[in-house]
């Protein structure tokens, strides 16, 4: 008989083995699907690997594709770690893009030193507000944040759409081709975010900011009183209340922080990638949702979000450039889904162990130390 038993302790090696194992299992399941669809799995994976990491330019594209995922991944990791299911990364990302493009359009003429910090701040602020509203209702009235943050995604998407397709707003291009096809007004050259590197390799500013944010988040958890409080609240809200920690306020702060990170992602999308507000593009890419996959695979660890976002960025990058008759459509999305599925199942294994044999109820007590 096979049965599950809760683990008393979680060995350290598991936190590496489980995500790696999840990726391998997802790859195997993906290979099965590719084979079933009549394609050569080995060759397909080979092409993905080549397009993602095969050259300096491939790496550069992968990092660029990873940038929004890094930030939405951090956003999800921050909230989910505390048991706050912020599904609203997408909406916070969109609102970040709206605010950052607005700031870029408004201040672009003042030069990069003014416009770029303004875009960063505007994006973070908009994302923060967009998360703080459902966060407030969650912590004050106990509304379900899964539903409210999800609804806020639609509101954000519609606001962005309205600005470009539904009105002649400040964001919309009203000259040239903009007269024929509704589209966003590009920000000034000076407001475009710089990239660093050389020899064909470019590291976008957003990615650097993301890495800084990841380290900062890690340091926040590790070295500050607030981080200590987050640890206690995540583990036991009741013990936190007993210790005098303001549990609702901590939750609201984390929601706001999470939203700010997603909003920064939206700002980077404007500054690093699109240089204008593109509601359709934002909707199609769904970075906010992919960020949840990233965070789950990283097991809510902000440092681990960096490599995981590169991995998923690689998939996205390869998927985009390989699109065509010989490359199964929807494969990248399917692989992402498989990754999330395997990551969540793997998370289960870190909490329980599988045992074979008859039930021995005394087992758990025997392991208790000093009993």
């Amino acid at each position: 008989m096979i049965r599950l038993e809760p683990r008393l302790t979680r060995p350290k090696w598991l936190s590496v083995a489980v995500p790696v194992g999840s990726i391998i299992v997802a790859a195997i399941l993906g290979a099965l699907l590719i084979t079933l669809s009549g394609n050569d799995a080995g060759a397909t994976y080979g092409r993905i690997g080549d397009r993602a990491f095969g050259s300096v330019t491939a790496w550069s594209d992968t990092i660029l594709a990873a940038t929004p995922l890094l930030l939405t991944g951090l956003a999800a990791a921050a909230a989910f770690k505390m048991g706050l299911f912020n599904i609203g990364g997408q909406g916070q990302f969109v609102m970040g893009a709206v605010a950052a493009s607005g700031a870029g359009l408004l201040l672009g003429d003042l030069g990069g030193f003014v416009a770029i910090p303004a875009m960063i701040l505007a994006g973070m602020l908009a994302g923060a507000v967009w998360a703080a509203i459902p966060g407030f209702f969650k912590t004050r009235f106990g509304t379900n944040e899964v539903i409210t943050t999800l609804m806020f995604n639609y509101i954000a998407a519609n606001i962005a759409s309205f600005l470009i397709f539904g009105s002649e707003s400040f964001w919309r291009l009203l000259t040239g081709s903009g007269k024929v096809f509704p589209q966003g007004k590009p920000i000034a050259e000076d407001a475009v975010w710089p990239a660093f590197g050389g020899g064909g390799f470019n590291m976008p500013l957003g990615f650097i900011l993301g890495c800084v944010a990841a380290v900062a988040l890690w340091a926040l958890y590790r070295y500050t009183r607030f981080g200590f409080e987050i640890g206690v609240v995540s583990d036991s809200p009741e013990a936190a209340r007993y210790a005098g920690i303001n549990v609702p306020r901590t939750g609201l702060a984390i929601m706001t922080l999470s939203g700010a990170l997603a909003g920064l992602g939206g700002a980077s999308d404007v500054g690093d990638i699109r240089h204008l507000l593109d509601p359709k593009g934002l909707g199609q890419t769904g970075y906010g949702y992919t960020g949840i996959v990233v965070a789950a695979l990283a097991r809510w660890n902000p440092i681990a979000v960096i490599p995981v976002s590169i991995l998923l960025g690689a998939l996205a990058n390869a998927g985009r450039s390989l699109q065509g008759a010989t490359f199964p459509a929807g494969l990248v999305g399917t692989l992402q889904g498989l990754l999330l599925f395997c990551a969540v199942s793997g998370e289960f294994l870190t909490r329980y162990r599988i045992r074979r044999g008859a039930r021995r109820p005394a087992k758990a007590t025997a392991e208790v130390i000093g009993a």
Binding site: L8, F228, V232, D235, V368, G370
Partner: protein, 535 residues
Amino acid sequence: MTPGGTGADAASAASPGRHSTSDAVSGAHPAVSMRGITKRFAGGVVANDGVDLDVAPGEVHALLGENGAGKSTLSNVLTGLYRQDEGTVSLFGQPVSFTSPKDAIAAGVAMVHQHFRLVTKFTVAENFLLGSGGNFDAKHAAERITALGKEYGLEVDPNANVWELSVGEQQRVEILKALDRRAKVLILDEPTAVLTPQESDALFATMRRMVEDGRSVIFISHKLQEVMKVSDRVTTLRDGKTVGTVVTKETTSAELARLMVGRSVVFNEDDIEDRPEADPDRLVLDVKNLSADGVRPQSSPKNVDLQVHAGEIVAICGVSGNGQRELAASIYGIRKRTSGTVAVDGVQSMAKGPRESTKLGLAFIPEDRLKTGLSASLPIHANLALKGYRFPPMSSGPFLKHKVMRANAEDLVKRYGIKTPSIDTPTRVLSGGNVQKVLLAREIGSKPHVLIASTPTRGLDVGAIETVRSLLMDAARGGTGVLLITEDLDEAMALAHRLVVMFEGRIVGEFLRGDFDIEKIGLLMGGHTDKDGAA
């Protein structure tokens, strides 16, 4: 009937020995006969240890005992929820062996639990039909409910949704269900805990009517007055053992109180050498007129005045659910006070919550140690810093000082002899005694003016209990005023300088060391006040 005016005399005269079944109402086979029931649980807890119980047909038989005396375990054995490890159960002379509550119901044994087993979104009639064997004739059921209700004084609207009913009405539905299934033995587990006095009286009338029909009612309670009022005989359990069965008419509340609480009425006070000395000149905890909202009205503290001096141990005794838990929480500041003031070592608390209490020097060991007092999955060093992390030297500004936190943890682990592989071990993997040591080390280690300890030894093994008690004594010796909340009278009498009894949120009695009267204490815990004449 008035519970004996000559209580004290009767108690000393009457023997607590067992009255044999022949005293019972009927001479035939007893309705229920449980012999030598022993039930052990994992971890070495013996909930029932050779318990005997005989219930005659047509009697209300009270099962009396404190929390944890084994009443619920015994009734769960009788209803097939648990299987006894040893002993036999017979119904009307026939040995039975139940493997599930279904068997028990088929044999005519039904139980009304403290927490009702009703589907609140269904109507009364629909609940009636649940588990009645697939006969979903709602109209018929409604008629039966009305008829049975009339007969037993249990009127309830069959078409009302259960969630619309009061708790008392929901209880009626449960009883009606049992009657409908032709229960010959009905077990009521603390049925009056949720009722108003008027509802309780109505229930007692119903109970009498049921036994007039020849049914047997087992009435589980720790309220002496009610037991005296409604039962024919009383079996008392203590620490999982039968203390004795007495005929209600031949006993008094005082005797029952003694049977319920006191194994050794004379307590050996010499057990404790070097008892800490209270300093009458230094008041460390001064609670005035404190009221707060409890989970139920009975558990709301009402106008409580309480003083603890430096080095003094004050025990609050009472049956659980009488407001002790809420009192502790509202002094400490995790529960709102609706009135009153708290001063710690002369400094008024502003009711700002736990952080203020910590600063004032008020430490608190909550009863739920691993869920409330500690963050179970966090390492020991974090739990030992749970109160101090916000203040220097463990942090400076917004930053933690890990070195200080770890050194503090290493020191406390050593000083309090906490058995753990390392200070990085998750707290939940420690044994119960060591978990409690972590909590005590943190709370006492901060050298507080006042320590509130809520049932600090509950669920621990003997060795750990000794350790915890001596740590409390040490704290008092160091000048801390200790407020000990306990359901264990022996513990209270062993440790306390002063003993305060709480009933339904009020302080109903106070005893000084040397003047501890276990009978009086037991009566007060059971809701008897002096004017009832029993004490």
